[in-house]
């Protein structure tokens, strides 16, 4: 895996560099910079060009539609448009796309986070009629994958522990056996209380499935283009598609509910979304009947990813991860008739 990943990084760097300036001009470029390197997304930058290798199991037809969406004139000013990709010399193991460099959100300056701009972009995205047929937004599928990853990681963890203690009762023979870890049990209880569409098991009901959605909003999905002072735009279309628009508000809502996002930041975000006519929540009054299911799903997803990482890295949850796990525990103790709630 390491060798493959390294060669992907090298190939992306070479590709981005080749396109960043004409071949015959003298090269004073810095070495390519790795912005992300995961199996589901490796991103390398050279100069003003960013090259991304998508997941190996990407549905290439669906990805092509999503990239075409980012290039569509209807989405200008909302989504970062791709650069034309040269045809690969040979079929690649992972599909590759090219993008102009943008300036990301500064992780060291929470006060400058573009909450209002993010909400305005989402509202405009949600209000745009799909210009051509698109696959479903992949939010619920990602949540399901996060829970599966947590189950696998906690099983592996239990194996490691049980091998050390010679406790045969903890040996994980059954792949569906629940984790013994109380945090893992809370996450699974929260997961089970969600409606089937939010677990990615059935398509979203039509009334919930009609908007263009980003599908994976977080602060890493915003850049200013042109860097450094251009307008904010949304990036990363890998999970975009048609679906429940409240899903895109679900992560900030989950952070707010967990106590991670300050009430004033949440108000800024929600007010801007409403001011821009976003359809995911009613124009006034309590937004939570509309937000409850996506926010619970993203709480579960975030806590599941955190527990999977903690198990893999043999460490305890950090302060922020702990807040999301505690949120799951509160969700898990809701009576079932309330947990299925009005928004299901």
């Amino acid at each position: 895996m390491t060798t493959t990943q390294t060669s992907v990084v090298h190939d992306l760097g070479t590709l981005a560099h080749r396109l960043s300036h004409p071949a015959r001009t003298p090269c004073v470029c810095e070495p390519p910079q790795v912005l992300a390197d995961r199996p589901d997304g490796t991103v390398v930058r050279s100069g003003a060009i960013v090259a991304k290798a998508h997941a190996a199991d990407t549905d290439r037809e669906a990805l092509a539609a999503r990239i075409a969406l980012a290039a569509a004139p209807q989405l200008a000013g909302i989504l970062l448009p791709p650069l034309p990709a040269p045809a690969p010399a040979a079929p690649t193991a992972r599909p590759v796309t090219l993008w102009p460099l943008g300036a990301p959100v500064d992780p060291t300056d929470p006060g400058a986070a573009p909450w209002a701009e993010a909400a305005d972009l989402l509202a405009r995205l949600h209000r745009t009629k799909p210009p051509f047929p698109l696959p479903p937004m992949r939010g619920p599928a990602k949540a399901a994958r996060a829970v599966a990853r947590m189950r696998a990681a906690l099983r592996a963890d239990a194996t490691a522990v049980s091998c050390g203690t010679r406790d045969a009762a903890t040996l994980p023979g059954d792949a569906t056996a629940p984790p013994r870890d109380p945090a893992g049990l809370s996450v699974l209880a929260g997961w089970r209380a969600l409606p089937a569409w939010a677990r990615g098991e059935v398509p979203a009901p039509v009334r919930r499935g009609s908007s263009l959605c980003h599908g994976d909003l977080h602060l890493g999905q915003l850049v200013r283009h042109p860097a450094p002072d251009g307008p904010w735009l949304l990036i990363d279309m890998d999970d975009a598609g048609v679906g429940e628009p409240a899903w895109d508000l679900g992560r900030p809502a989950a952070w707010y509910a967990a106590g991670l996002l300050a009430p004033e930041d949440w108000s800024t975000f929600l007010d801007a979304y409403r001011s821009a006519g976003g359809p995911a929540v009613p124009a006034d009054g309590d937004p939570w009947p509309a937000l409850d299911v996506p926010a619970r799903a993203l709480t579960v997803q975030t806590a599941a990813v955190a527990l999977a990482k903690c198990a893999a890295e043999q460490r305890d949850p950090d302060e922020h991860e702990q807040l999301m796990i505690e949120s799951c525990a509160r969700i898990a103790t809701l009576p079932p008739e309330l947990a299925t709630g009005p928004a299901s």
């Binding site: 959100v105 929470p110 986070a113 939570w288 009947p289 991860e321 299901s344």
Partner: protein, 101 residues
């Protein structure tokens, strides 16, 4: 999803100051679980103490949360409006979580 004990229509759940209230979509009747009326009464008196010159609100069948207090029933306890530790988190920065899937 609860059914209304009076007219058997579906009931929706609402959150008022952290208290879950079921309201019927048909007859608009309200169902409170054990202890919830006491919770609401307590919250009402706290609310009245915080804002003594509150004008009468004849449209409200029960005390409504101030707009900033909308939060889910499973929200962190600090959503009661007593400050909490947000400032602490904000000063410390976001953490990686707000930047990853």
């Amino acid at each position: 999803m609860m059914q209304c004990p009076k007219c058997h229509a579906q009931m929706n759940t609402y959150n008022r100051n952290g208290v879950q209230i079921e309201q019927c979509n048909g007859c608009r009747g309200i169902f409170l679980d054990y202890g919830e009326l006491e919770s609401l009464t307590r919250l009402e008196s706290q609310w009245a103490q915080q804002a003594p010159p509150a004008p009468p609100a004849p449209q409200q069948a029960y005390p409504a949360a101030p707009p900033a207090a909308h939060a889910p029933a499973w929200g962190a306890p600090q959503h009661g409006g007593h400050g909490g530790h947000y400032g602490h988190h904000r000063q410390k920065g976001f953490g990686r979580m707000l930047f990853s899937s």
